[in-house]
């Protein structure tokens, strides 16, 4: 009972979403919209659970006075300030927008830009053309990076001036992206999509039920 009813719900919602998407009838479209809304109502509760888990983790850190526990207070300050202003007044509130534009966005961009240094450092240490495949990866990455900046075409026009093409670096980059990279990506997308469909069918039919966890 503890497993069969959730499996039946999974089947019903899965089948409802498939059939209603294929049928243009107004009832079918109404059911489709209603089920989409149900999904959008249920999923924020999962987010609440995630927030509760985050709070529990940081409260434990503060209670046990683990290393750097003081920073857990900063998490709470950021979260409480944002929630206290944003929940009653909405995301369009000027203070929420100020916090978003001057605190969240700069830190988000800085965090991701920090990865440029680590990727460059890791690439410098790990990139070695030890095999033909590794050479292909290395050469493509170099061409794509050089073709992305104006200096790439400048160097091409100086060094390869005997060739009939100008701005060859950016042209070669674009050709690699449009043809060779496109072929590989299509192969991957087709493979992954077939996997997603087969897994979805297994889930809807109740063959795949590991998401229910162990126990009764």
């Amino acid at each position: 009972m503890k497993r069969q009813i959730p499996l039946a719900f999974c089947f019903l919602f899965g089948i409802a979403m498939i059939f209603t998407q294929f049928s243009p009838h107004s009832y079918s479209q109404a059911v489709y919209k209603e089920v989409i809304d149900w999904g959008l109502i249920i999923s924020p509760f999962a987010m609440v659970l995630a927030v509760v888990t985050l709070i529990q983790t940081h409260v434990t850190r503060i209670n046990l006075r683990t290393e750097h526990w003081q920073y857990s207070l900063i998490v709470f300050v950021g979260m409480i300030v944002m929630v206290l202003i944003g929940v009653p007044f909405g995301p369009q509130n000027s203070i929420v927008e100020w916090l978003y534009n001057n605190v969240q966005v700069p830190m988000d961009a800085s965090m991701f830009s920090l990865l440029a240094f680590f990727i460059a450092s890791a690439a410098f240490r790990a990139f070695r053309a030890r095999s033909f495949e590794a050479f292909l990866l290395l050469a493509t990455a170099m061409i794509v990076m050089i073709g992305n900046v104006p200096v790439g075409d400048l160097v091409w026009n100086k060094v390869m001036s005997w060739m009939p093409w100008t701005d060859g670096a950016s042209w070669l980059r674009q050709w690699i992206l449009d043809v060779l990279n496109n072929a590989a990506r299509r192969g991957i997308i087709l493979g992954v999509s077939l996997g997603v469909i087969s897994q979805s069918i297994r889930i809807i039919l109740g063959i795949e039920r590991s998401y229910l966890g162990g126990g009764d």
Partner: protein, 234 residues
Amino acid sequence: MEIIGIWVAAFLTLCIYSFLYRDNPFYRFAEHLFVGISVGYIIIINIHQGVIPLAWEPLSEAISALWAEIVGTTTPETRNALWGLFRILPIAIGLLFFARLSPRHTWLIRYPIAILIGFGAGVAIPNVLQANIFAQTRGTIEPFAAINAGTLSAWDTFGAILIAIGVICTLTYFFFSVEHRGPVKWASKVGIGFLMIGFGAAFGNTVMGRLALLIHRVGFLLNDWLGSFGAFFG
């Protein structure tokens, strides 16, 4: 307020870049603040774009309509709003997520998870079929109609043939139902070559994307922040 915003953003940007030297209190402060602010923002967006318009408003309208029904002031609009009472069901299902907090009732969390997974699987099948399988296959085959009509240049014809070979060989590499021997082995080897080129291009694009962000942040520090010194110090 704008100047203060620039200085706060600059301080936090420098706090994060201080990690390039080594882990330090400034970085840890910015990192934890980022987590707190981001979680807070996600809560706001979920409430204002999910819970309020989809659950709270239909439900409150339905309760008002129910009251109108009781006191006898019903209209066709209020009767229609009564359907909003059904929104109690997804709210109740969503609340079952909190069963996770009680060890005796943890199993109840299977209901919302099963519904969300079934919902996701049902949405995925038609969309993935349409957007990925049909569209990608059509994109690979369609240029051959243009080749047949003679409207494609020799260079583009070469590109179209190369894409078709690449897609078939890449799929062959992922095809494990037959042993990779003979022609299958060679097709699979060509597929690995295409995959390596694809990974190389993805790597190159990722690095350049991160560098673009870095240039943007450095531009902000040099232009906006340093440019604000005059205004800030009078």
